[in-house]
Symmetry: C2
């Protein structure tokens, strides 16, 4: 295989496991049990029904939820969920739902949700530039809100919640797009979890929704079928032609998680070790590498950091690229650097990045940059 | 490559050209000009912006439309367009739009459109079981309708319009999902054309919308962004993470159409020859193979037919499968047989199918089936 794929730190679409890429490559020519290219198999075939069944089962097993949760495989990305959630769960003339504004992505949710009904921004980190997340003490949540919505991991700023938020008597809705299946999450404490595939679980083009079955029954009538969770649940995600290829790749990733990695607790151990290795590089760099996030709220998925100045940042990116390390440029909204350490990024790849960062710091003549604030 | 892929007559997702499958297989490991797997490249990369640019350009060039048409690459399939079209183009309290009900798929459009505003079924073929399409004389269209909607090719019944319908002063909206880029279509006579990819142009998961730019300006305000053509047009189809892989495959198919096939007129010649070959088998079978569609309205994409009885149909399918010919089972809505002859199905493959059908007819003892209506 191509060694550059192993050193892809892209914020998403992100790297996939090498063993999965090999299986996908084979499936482009021939899915072994069918004898046809995965791109030319009918979504009404027995084979594809079995793919969907196994994937639903794998996701329930990995998350530890029962059959009372639907697993839906939808199109439209997390963006479509920003609207579908309030369309189904937000009474137009009841109490507002609580939304947390903790970074770029949870900010994108707000106007979409607001269009569908009453919401309240229960907390915002905007004034400090989204460098930390709320503690339980600073969160004044409404105990009679129809639901609480939050984003578990802010990809752009590199912030991640390391606990379940809110009260158990208020429905939890969580956008887990960027840390889905990267760690155990006590999924039964959530009413609805959604995650697009293109960070940890597959290619762009499919979004997983895990929703407790009683919650979608009372959605308003008259929604277009493709925006109604009930229609997708009844059709077992084959309401119309689904993205067969993307769903098949997600199935392969769940098999890899279960069989090769050994489940979400094992995955978390690996992901935690990777992130800790990189944060140690930051913390031991005498302020050369500056992490964006408050230490307590650091993401294990996305390590966002700055260098002393923009010239050095450009040079860092160019030399990293030349060394085969790709995808390290920060999100266009905030700039800087970002190393994304999704499931498929190996500890060895992180070791190579850490080595590169240490070497880069040494080769930069420190006194020359003293004026820009390096200690 | 796998020889079975060449004999895939599936109704969709359908076969793709072998040269495209080879390029896709390579891209799973490494897109040559990037050095990374196509599944791990950011949608915000320069490479992907160039993919979208080239694809927009190729589709305009193939259809012969100018820059005044947006080419949008959306998710949600044709099903999402059933709703998006009236959401944007149907005034809630004006004259109803004219819809033609010519088969299974145009029937699926009706409730979705009706939910969004006033529509009128201007013609229906339901009473004769959708065996023919309307002639111009039998069509009484409203010259002040906001638009006329029809489906150019009915995949299930094997019916296809071989002319442009309607009046030039009424906006034409056409679902070309199953014959898009299979022939020249005088695209500038249409206001909006939509087509999911999984018949002639790529894998399931992306839908192409070609829309004249003046038409989307007056859509109602307040639509969710992902349902508003304007947002997608402004974002050049990268409003949120698009299905990168599916879009890349569609680009490869358009390159194949332009460079290997030589454009849509050349493609039409090939497709016409393929269909005529198979219809000749039907017509020269002494009534053994019975085509569903009226001769004038026969589809060049989907040849739907029956055998004298269901037992023979089962045997036909089993022997075809054993001979490596797959995907010949008719749509679950009407049963029978269906050979789909999308762009990537080669004349050689059709020749093999025709030979198989002739042989099958000969091996069946004709007198034994005389009672079931064979002449």
């Amino acid at each position: 295989m191509n060694p550059r794929n192993a050193l892809n730190f892209s914020g998403g679409p992100g790297a996939l496991p090498e063993s999965v890429l090999r299986e996908v490559q084979q499936a482009i020519v021939e899915v072994p049990e069918v004898g046809l290219s995965v791109l030319g198999i009918s979504h009404r075939s027995d084979w594809f029904a079995a793919v969907v069944d196994e994937l639903e089962h794998n996701i329930r097993a990995l998350l530890g939820v029962g059959e009372n949760y639907h697993v839906l495989l939808l199109q439209g990305g997390a963006t479509q969920q920003f609207s579908m959630v309030p369309m189904s769960l937000l009474p137009p003339d009841g109490a507002p739902a609580d939304y947390l504004h903790t970074g770029y992505w949870s900010g994108k949710v707000l106007p979409a949700a607001h269009r569908e009904g009453p919401i309240r921004v229960a907390w915002s980190g905007e004034t400090d530039g989204f460098r930390h997340l709320p503690s339980d003490e600073t969160l004044a949540l409404n105990r009679s809100a129809p639901y609480l919505h939050y984003v578990s991991n802010e990809t752009v700023e590199g912030l991640q919640f390391h606990r379940v938020l809110g009260h158990d008597n208020v429905l939890r809705v969580c956008d887990m797009s960027s840390d889905f299946l990267s760690r155990p999450v006590e999924a039964e404490r959530f009413g609805l979890i959604y995650a697009h595939a293109q960070k940890n679980v597959g290619p762009a083009g499919v979004t997983v929704v895990v929703v407790r079955d009683d919650l979608i029954q009372d959605a308003p009538q008259g929604l277009p079928e493709f925006l109604d969770y009930r229609s997708h649940a009844r059709a077992h995600s084959i309401l119309n032609t689904p993205p067969v290829f993307a769903i098949y790749v997600v199935l392969l990733v769940t098999r890899w998680l279960m069989q090769d990695v050994g489940g979400l607790a094992a995955m978390e151990t690996i992901n935690r070790r990777k992130a800790e290795r990189l944060y140690a590089v930051l913390d031991e760099s005498d302020g050369f590498y500056r992490g964006r996030a408050a230490e307590r709220d650091r993401s294990f998925m996305n390590v966002a950091f700055n260098l002393p100045d923009k010239t050095l940042e450009q040079r860092f990116l160019a030399e990293a690229e030349a060394a085969g390390l790709s995808g390290l440029k920060g999100h266009r909204a905030i700039g800087g650097m970002r190393a994304s350490l999704y499931n498929a990024v190996t500890p060895e790849a992180v070791e190579q990045l850490a080595d590169f960062m240490d070497r880069f710091r040494c080769t930069v003549s420190m006194p020359a940059h003293g004026a820009t604030g390096v200690r």
